[in-house]
Subunit: 356 residues, 2 copies
Amino acid sequence: MKTKRFHVADRVVLETRKKVWRGTILDSYDPEVVLLKLDSGYNIGIPESEIINAELVEPAKPSRGKKLTIQKKKGLKNVALVISGGTISSRVDTRTGAVKPSEASDIISMCPEVSNICNIVKVVRPFMKLSGDISYREWKVLSEVIFKLLKEVDGVILTHGTDTLTYTASALSFFLRNLSKPIAVTYSQKSIDRPSTDASLNLLCAAKYATSDIAEVALIGHESMNDDYCLAMPATRTRKMHTSRRDAFKVINDLPIARISKEEFKILREFRARSQCETVLDNRFSEKVALIKVHPGSDPDILKFFERKKIRGVVLETTGLGQVPTEEARLNWLPKIRSAISCGMTICAVAQTLYG
Amino acid sequence: MKTKRFHVADRVVLETRKKVWRGTILDSYDPEVVLLKLDSGYNIGIPESEIINAELVEPAKPSRGKKLTIQKKKGLKNVALVISGGTISSRVDTRTGAVKPSEASDIISMCPEVSNICNIVKVVRPFMKLSGDISYREWKVLSEVIFKLLKEVDGVILTHGTDTLTYTASALSFFLRNLSKPIAVTYSQKSIDRPSTDASLNLLCAAKYATSDIAEVALIGHESMNDDYCLAMPATRTRKMHTSRRDAFKVINDLPIARISKEEFKILREFRARSQCETVLDNRFSEKVALIKVHPGSDPDILKFFERKKIRGVVLETTGLGQVPTEEARLNWLPKIRSAISCGMTICAVAQTLYG
């Protein structure tokens, strides 16, 4: 193996019969393939067997990984940071150009002002997942981790990918009853090490929220495209409305709880206050649930499919206030709904019109 | 049968062993059951067999049904009215209190100003359906009816229920290519004979749109809760955002085409103009399509169900820009998507975030 002596982040020249490649060695899962980041920015995988000559141009600089040292400042509240994945928890490895999960130290060191707001006394990383892969089981894990942390700290910040963030935040607000301390769920659309990141402000505002008197699960994120204000948005009343904008999240049919900036913390409506209540963990949740979006011509036999899958509850996202195609339509939903209910399925209808 | 001599809208007193009922006779589908509108407004069905005595209090007044007389005014454009159902096409039968499909004459007589804007030279009612029951087949019928009408008139008004109105309007805009005349699709949230109806303004503005120079399919409806302005909204860029408000429809990521009131007609952006183009009817459309909304924990086996149903194309409403649960999730969608594609299914991804 001509490349065995190379390390990640070494600059090398690799020669194959067809071409000479210059670039930086990346982590490769396949030991038979060398992964190279080219100077163009593209990555290429070169089978070890095709390499006829390999030269080290410049050895890797030592990794800048720092140990997280927690310095507690007197008078500041103690906050725990729970990292679950997503863009806010990833960074570009400057040595190689690859995107990697970031260390807690990266997250905090990129927003040093957090240390003037609270003491991050604990960092927990129960898993690292893209939010698209997060579901019931992860909600349970997160609720358990946070439930435990709430006994030790004054507030919790959870970092999460944006795609299913509102689902997770809602689940947490249902699972953690009688909440007595603030839980700030935050994100970023650009990773924290990039110049235009939205992570710094989100994290700073999340820290302010986590030390506030508001004992609710709130989503903390940019109010607009500007990098000045964040909103604290109620978990169950907020929806992701844009895939990639900083202000991706919007409160639907409600007011944000607070507007937060570096300088300000303005309460916008009534809220559940920090208290001595004993928070109750109730994360019983059946995985046997499904959601169906009803559309013109949609086939009610889908209920049969879910019956066979032993699905116990179905949310129908209906047209109108609860309208499904009836006997006047090509495919009549009513007998299929009746049959599913008689087989023990619980069916509830919601409107697909977002504002009521 | 003690009630055989009664007619719809007769005021009667019916005596059963348990109670005496006063009210107005309604149409009943079951000859064994007398349907009565009580003075309280509630309807009750009384089995004929339980009636021990029945008395006529006041016979029905003759129906006020009027024939539609079309008076053409010189200089006005000719417009066709296509009635497909929905609230705008229904009215309360003042004799009985039941909601019934209205006659074309009702629709027009409730908004007499329309006759100052255009000549309604033709009224067509290809079917009468709640919009929840309207689907591919009705879209085809409507496109054919309107295609034919466009050769005879200067513009078309289509009245439609609100729940699936944007689906139908979109379908029409795809089916009628090279459109050369305006098609105004309109609705009401309250039936046209009720004092606070939104139908009059919508119909008036639809008439103004149908005589305009804009050769696009547009949805005409209230701009706000006030009864002053309507917007002409582009068919494929408009979504129902509220189940019951007058301004239920909102343009997403685009501008309305025009703002219309009794006095004004203000163009808000570029538009396709009325022309001599020959409109092409292309309403080939496969019924073998489905939409799946992806959510945390959703089961990719649903693709197998659609394969068995011979569904040829699936739209996945994904989280993020095209994210589905992957190998890190409890249920991995990727192999199931690959398998469906290899079986010939076309799968396309859209974002469930409404604004991009």
